[in-house]
């Protein structure tokens, strides 16, 4: 890995976020505490310049909440996010505006994130104007350049969002984010709403743009195949915590956390000759309102033992680049697998 790649650009440090549930009258009268959804429970990781970090996990595990904390659409309740070393909650004035420009988010839903009454020209023009990216006279040329960059025909500028297909709308979202020449794209379920053949087009575009513009990408998705394809490193979340993080191929070929393994086993193989009839994971996600004591995965983990119900495991090194949060530090260790194969 070269020096530019290993330089930390964004760091999350013990980020926590709760959402309070309206305090029902009965609970208030009976003096019971307010309920809260524990969406993020101490999330820490780093993103290096120029890399793609994939974030996966099942619905409700906190992926979108984390993405919003990274771009400061949400303030953390606890912990902090650092951008080039600075706590983004402390940024003010020009620094805050620079951060808002340099870190761009692209949303899950291409239908609702574009103003339906604005033409593409106005959508892109607005982004260029807000951050004063170009003198007024150069804006039309820049819009044409941006449309070309995301491979939309130049007559797209005069159309409204509803005149495009889902994949094209997602490209408009990408063009709007790129208009301000960001360093980081945070893409939340960028292609989840698209058909398979169109997903591939947008994924290819993202890969090419990233090379061309040296972008750092946070790719949030629930689709394991996509995340594996696109990411240098992957973080797996469960109930608002990272349970495993590491280089993509290491993590996919030898997962070191029982939840990661269950998730990978549950995803259907694309090879019809490799079928299994065993169920990968029993049970369902516990409620994020009442988190289990000890390890968050203990209600479903086939390997759980006493300690898992008493003590929450911390994220710790398996190799210098690969961390997992499980009391069974040998779980999935390649050396052990070899031993088992021999004996």
């Amino acid at each position: 890995m070269n020096a530019a790649l290993s330089q930390t650009l964004i760091a999350a440090e013990e980020v926590s976020k709760e959402f309070h549930i309206p305090h029902g009258l009965w609970r208030r009268l009976t003096g019971q505490p307010r309920l809260a959804v524990h969406a993020l429970n101490g999330v820490s990781f780093q993103i290096n310049r120029g890399e793609t970090l994939g974030i996966v996990g099942e619905s409700g595990c906190g992926k979108s909440t984390l993405a919003r904390c990274l771009v400061r659409l949400f303030d953390c309740d606890d912990g902090r996010v650092r951008f080039e070393g600075e706590d983004i909650a402390d940024l003010k004035g020009a620094d805050r505006r620079a951060f808002n420009r340099r870190v761009q988010m692209i949303f899950q839903d291409p239908y609702s994130s574009l103003n339906p009454r604005m033409r593409v020209r106005e959508i892109l023009g607005e982004a260029l104007a807000v951050h004063k990216m170009r003198p007024r006279a150069q804006i039309p040329a820049r819009i044409a350049e941006l449309l070309d960059l995301v491979r939309l025909p130049s007559d797209a500028a005069d159309k409204f969002p509803h005149e495009f297909s889902g994949g094209q709308r997602q490209r408009i979202g990408i063009a709007r984010a790129l208009a301000v020449e960001p360093d980081v794209l945070v893409a939340d379920e960028l292609v989840s709403a698209l058909d398979v053949s169109v997903q591939a087009q947008v994924v290819n575009l993202l890969l090419q743009l990233q090379e061309q513009l040296n972008l750092t990408v946070v790719f949030v998705a629930h689709d394991l195949r996509l995340v594996r394809h696109i990411s240098h490193r992957v973080a797996v979340m469960y109930l608002g915590k990272i349970v495993e993080i590491g280089p993509t191929e290491a993590l996919f070929s030898a997962p070191r956390h029982p939840y990661t393994k269950a998730l990978l086993d549950a995803a259907p193989e694309l090879d019809p000759t490799k079928r299994t009839r065993t169920v990968a994971a029993r049970g369902e996600l516990p409620s994020p309102i009442n988190l289990p004591k000890g390890c968050l995965f203990n209600t479903r983990c086939p390997h759980a033992f006493d300690r898992c119900f008493a003590e929450r495991p911390l994220l710790s090194d398996r190799t210098p680049a690969h961390k997992a949060a499980c009391h069974l530090t040998d779980f999935g260790a390649p050396s052990l697998q070899n031993l088992e194969a021999i004996s």
């Binding site: 169109v198 394809h229 259907p268 169920v279």
Partner: protein, 329 residues
């Protein structure tokens, strides 16, 4: 073996602002007892309309033509009264959106029992017992207690299980499942698909599984039919189609799915988007997006024809497509 279900020349049209459009165009396939057939295609390709047409759930001004043979009788022409016995009885359906198919103001236990009283001769006590068994069968913990719960008190995965329990109440011989797991997380999807396979084994029930996910097809189906713009463009055993796709669209779909081991390389994508029903191109409807297309593809619609036992394709240049190789092997 005689097919359990035989669909022939099924054509469903809707009247729109742009005149009549065909959402399903001359579709034919069969399902053997105990066989799982995957119906694959992108959104709008006509998968759901196909299932609805089979059970005559398409309402005027939509029209359905063709034939759907079920145990020697045609579902499309049988009297409504008889059809009601088959629908939800011998043939059960699971819908794409569980919430729309469940009654929100009735406890799920009552909904299961309603289906039991419509399609079985069980008495009240037996029905209550059977309802509990069915909830157990689909893997709902504390089945007896949860019978009193309303649909909104279940999670998405549990609701899908309740739907399956209701569908199975009648002991169906055929299950039509429309994207039964699309809205669910992978670990829950895995549980539901394996449940459907276990029930297939147990009840020797045929299954039509509609999905847009090729992984789901690879992991669960025996045969598959690929739909594009309302037509079936390729069918065959799942193993054969994955190993050697003969239609350019099938090949493109397989190539669009990322595979392990080829990280950060460009995917074999299909340019463009599927056509709207009102503007289906002449000739082969896939021709504007097809890298194999020639003049004949723009003029003549290729017919679905058998080129090897059990393998059908509708493509003028299927040999060339096959020779280009499968993107997944």
């Amino acid at each position: 073996m005689i097919p359990a279900l035989e669909v022939r020349n099924l054509t469903t049209s809707f009247r729109t602002q742009n005149g009549w459009v065909k959402a399903v165009d001359n579709v034919g396939f069969e399902v053997m007892p105990g066989e799982v057939v995957g119906l694959v295609g992108e959104s709008g390709s006509g998968k759901s309309v196909t299932l609805h047409s089979i059970l005559r759930l398409v309402h005027a001004p939509g029209t359905v033509a063709g034939s759907v043979k079920w145990q020697g009788r045609d579902l499309l022409t049988m009297p409504e009264r008889e059809l009601r016995k088959v629908r939800g009885g011998e043939i059960a359906m699971i819908f794409q959106e569980p919430m729309t198919a469940l009654n929100p103001v009735l406890p799920v236990g009552i909904q299961i029992e309603e289906n039991l009283s419509a399609h079985t001769a069980l008495d009240g006590r037996q029905r209550a017992a059977r309802a509990r068994e069915l909830m157990d069968l689909v893997g709902i913990p504390e089945a007896a207690r949860r019978l009193k719960d309303y649909p909104h008190q279940f999670s998405g995965g549990m609701r899908q299980r309740v739907m399956i329990a209701i569908a199975l109440a009648s002991g169906p011989k055929l299950l039509l499942a429309d994207e039964p797991t699309t809205a669910l997380d992978v670990t829950i999807q895995d549980q539901i698909l394996k449940l459907i396979l276990d029930l297939r084994d147990e009840l020797q029930m045929g299954v039509v599984l509609v999905t847009h996910d090729l992984g789901v097809v690879a992991a669960t189906c025996d045969r598959m039919a690929v739909m594009y713009a309302g037509r079936i463009v390729e069918t065959g055993s799942v193993v054969d189609v994955f190993a050697e796709p003969h239609h350019a669209y099938t090949r493109g779909l397989l190539g669009s799915v990322p595979r392990g081991g080829a990280g950060r390389t460009l995917l074999l994508s299909i340019e463009g988007t599927p056509p709207g029903l009102a503007s289906i191109p002449p000739g082969c409807s896939f021709n504007p997006r097809c890298t194999f297309a020639t003049d004949i593809c723009r003029k003549e619609t290729p017919m679905l024809a058998e080129f090897a036992p059990g393998r059908l394709v509708a493509c003028h240049h299927h040999r060339e497509v096959a020779a280009a190789g499968s993107p997944v092997v």
